[in-house]
């Protein structure tokens, strides 16, 4: 029997920089690309890597996300001996505990991992847009005999100080890890994707839990501690499309990269396997009206377009009425654009209503965000 890997996805963050979009839902549950939610990418990657046990660590506004994860049927985890479970914080004999950091979230679920008896644990961030399989990285980890392997990608030198930067030797063994260095000596950025040998992970987490001064974070505490203890940590070089959509601008621009006119060879191709799986809503097919005009856009089923749409991402159950003009915008599910309204350079959260003749950011170059509550004012 082959050795077992369990995936643990960190999906509890608030995503404060996404402002109103994460007022009622966690960042990994935010919609992307007209049909998807951000966490679909990570969970599809896990499924496509033939890992059949995954725990999703949820915390902030977890109801929608827990409901969406359900039993994992969207990504095929409802098969025999497969497990997909949301793991929010819980009350125990010691009392109720929030997850105090990324490492603490895993540490509080060591009982779940013990029950699954994994040889390796793949730890992922649930808020990144990329398409991959983790097989090669896990194989490299097994072959190297390291206690931890970290996925890295080369970033532009001027950007390096925004990331956790790794320094490596010529065999790609990690020699140093610095969180957001002012003067980076390497441009290898951590993607927040780790493979641990489980017995090593368990040991270091139990030690970290006892340390009152720890912030219980993989980047700030666990990785530096392992390096200090002279453990073998390897870097796995990832190349390809990868986006952190942590800000409104980055979310908007990653959406826009899906448009036919802006696609490059690197951009995620939804038609090529491995496939990104998502909820297939029971929407009607999209309906395009007699006077509609659509250019350079991505439009999901369930949308009804009677006006003009260009360079935009339109989700299910969106209605763009006659005479309305939507450009360079991302419309999330259930958005209604009234007759002759103008929407430009905007992200409209789920169920936002733009009234007839209303103008949103007509000449503005900055991306604006409107949400459902605002439209009720």
């Amino acid at each position: 029997m082959s050795r077992k890997t369990v995936a643990m996805i960190l999906a509890g963050g608030k995503g404060t920089r996404l402002k109103a979009l994460t007022k009622k839902i966690a960042k990994p549950a935010v919609y992307f690309g007209g049909k998807y939610r951000i966490i679909d990418f990570c969970l599809s990657n896990v499924a496509n890597s033939h890992i059949d046990c995954v725990g999703v660590l949820t915390q902030y506004e977890s109801v929608v996300l827990n409901n969406y994860i359900s039993n994992g049927h969207i990504w095929g985890f409802d098969g025999v001996n497969s497990t997909c479970v949301a793991l929010p914080p819980r009350q125990t004999e010691e009392g109720a505990n929030w997850y105090k950091g990324t490492a603490d979230a895993i540490a509080q679920n060591l009982d779940f991992l013990d029950g699954e008896e994994p040889d390796y644990v793949l730890i992922l961030s649930g808020d990144h847009i990329y398409k991959t399989t983790y097989d090669e990285m896990i194989n490299l980890h097994i072959k190297s005999g390291a206690c931890c392997t970290i996925s890295v990608m080369e970033v532009e030198w001027k950007e390096a100080s925004r990331f956790g930067i790794l320094e490596v030797d010529k065999e790609d063994r990690i020699t140093k890890f610095v969180e957001k260095p002012k003067e980076p000596k390497s441009n290898l950025a951590s993607m927040g994707v780790y493979v641990f040998t489980y017995k090593d992970l368990k040991k270091v987490l139990l030690e970290d839990m006892k340390n009152p001064d720890s912030s219980h974070d993989f980047g700030k505490d666990i990785i530096p501690n392992l390096l200090k203890a002279n453990k073998k940590l390897m870097a796995y070089r990832f190349s390809g499309y990868w986006r952190d959509v942590g800000t409104l601008d980055s979310l908007h621009s990653a959406n826009m990269e899906l448009l036919p006119s802006r696609r490059t060879q690197d951009t995620i191709n939804f038609d090529e396997p491995p496939i990104i799986y998502s909820e297939d809503t029971h929407s009607l097919p999209q309906f395009i009206g007699k006077n509609a005009s659509i250019k350079d856009s991505l439009i999901n089923q369930g949308a009804s377009i009677f006006g003009s749409v260009s360079e935009s991402i339109i989700s299910n159950e969106v209605v763009v009425e006659e005479g309305a003009k939507v450009t360079n915008s991302v419309l999330m599910p259930g958005v209604k654009i009234g007759k002759n309204a103008i929407v430009n350079n905007a992200i409209l959260g789920s169920n936002t209503v733009i009234n007839d003749n209303e103008v949103v950011n007509k000449d503005g170059n900055e991306i604006v965000l409107l949400d459902k509550e605002r439209s009720l004012q």
Partner: protein, 371 residues
């Protein structure tokens, strides 16, 4: 409604038409994302009926392929059932492969059931109906069997369908065929509600009537000599699909929202169908799309007007599609003009630059054709 067993009867829904040469009408693409059986199944589930058996006569594979796991339709896969029934003995003998013999071969469906009523539905009629109300009307009638009908004025659209003459007690006086002389007719929707015990009895006796009869024939026969049949009127939109021409006409009728056709889309529930992983539709810079129904996975950089595009259709720059219905994975290459065409799955239009049918006689293109 756990006292109702539903039988979706594909034996009486078969059309001998070019459209259904290699598949059942039940699993034929409709409105880009659906198959005809989805309408019946959605009506049943919306009416709270989840004990469902599908009587399949032929093209069994196309039905199972479309249905997928029962969780696509059933709200609870433990308490609900979605069975497919075939008569293996008569598969090579279509004349004797009737729904009656299918039920005799699979009689456990009736004998293991605790349901008091059986609803028998075809798939070649498109309509939205609340079966709960139908069942209530049947129970109130006190009859053993009821038939659902629709009163129509546009009899031309129902030629050769069964019509019923109703007596003063709201029972069927006789069955007949709709003719071009009729200005009005009560068209049978071939949907029956039957008391379970009566149905069991009818099936056992039916071989005495004829071995070639389907249930529909048996019911019609018995309505004259045995039990009076109660009549229940359906007042909403209903259409019958008999052939390619009907298929084309009513597809575009729904696209245009004419004749109250949008009623088939319930406002408070979704139409259920098999799910796919197709991405949203990609529109290129040169796309020019008006009045279309389009399913996910399509890539459009040409012109599409007054058409229905199923999943994963590609219309290249400089191509034009008008008044047409394209099934999944159809590709229309640069410079090609389609009008009045129904293209089956995986067709590719490349060399011939003009492929033209008419609204009266749409041009059907075989599955996988390269033109």
């Amino acid at each position: 409604m756990n006292n109702v067993l539903a039988l979706i009867d594909l034996h009486i829904s078969s059309t001998n038409d070019i459209l259904t040469n290699s598949r059942e009408l039940a699993s034929t693409t409709f409105l880009g994302r659906y198959a005809f059986i989805d309408f019946v199944l959605s009506n049943l589930i919306d009416s709270g009926i989840d004990d469902i058996s599908i009587l399949v006569q032929k093209y069994y594979r196309s039905i199972t392929k479309h249905l997928g796991p029962s969780s696509t339709y059933l709200k609870n896969t433990k308490t609900g059932f979605l069975n497919i029934l075939i008569n293996e003995k008569e598969l090579a003998n279509p004349l004797f492969n009737t729904d009656v013999r299918n039920l005799l071969e699979n009689d456990y469906v009736l004998y293991d059931s605790t349901c008091k009523y059986v609803l028998i539905c075809p798939v070649n009629f498109i309509y939205k109906i609340d079966y709960q109300k139908v069942i209530e009307q049947h129970i109130n009638s006190g009859k053993e069997i009821s038939v659902i009908y629709k009163n129509v004025k546009d009899t031309d659209n129902y030629l050769d369908c069964d019509k019923i003459v109703i007596d003063s007690l709201n029972s069927v006086q006789k069955f007949d065929k709709v003719s071009s002389k009729d200005k009005e007719a009560n068209v049978s929707l071939k949907t029956y509600v039957v008391n379970m015990d009566y149905l069991k009895n009818v099936i056992l006796k039916s071989n005495n009537v004829s071995q070639l009869f389907n249930l529909d024939d048996v019911f019609k026969y018995l309505s004259q000599y045995d039990q009076k049949m109660n009549c229940i009127e359906h007042k909403g939109y209903a259409r019958v699909i008999r052939n390619l021409k009907d298929y084309y006409k009513y597809s575009l009728e729904i696209l245009d929202g004419d004749e109250g056709s949008l009623e088939v889309f319930s406002s408070d529930s979704f139409l259920l169908t098999k799910t796919h992983n197709s991405r949203p539709v990609l529109y290129g810079k040169n796309a020019d799309v008006t009045q279309c129904i389009i399913a996910n996975g399509c890539t459009i950089n040409g012109k599409a007007k007054h058409s229905i595009l199923a999943r994963d259709v590609i219309i290249e720059e400089g191509a034009t599609v008008e008044d047409s219905i394209l099934f999944t994975h159809t590709i229309v290459r640069k410079g090609v003009h389609l009008k009045g065409v129904v293209a089956d799955k995986r067709c590719e239009f490349k060399t011939k630059k003009e492929v033209i049918g008419t609204s009266e006689n749409p041009l059907y293109i075989n599955r996988g054709a390269k033109i």
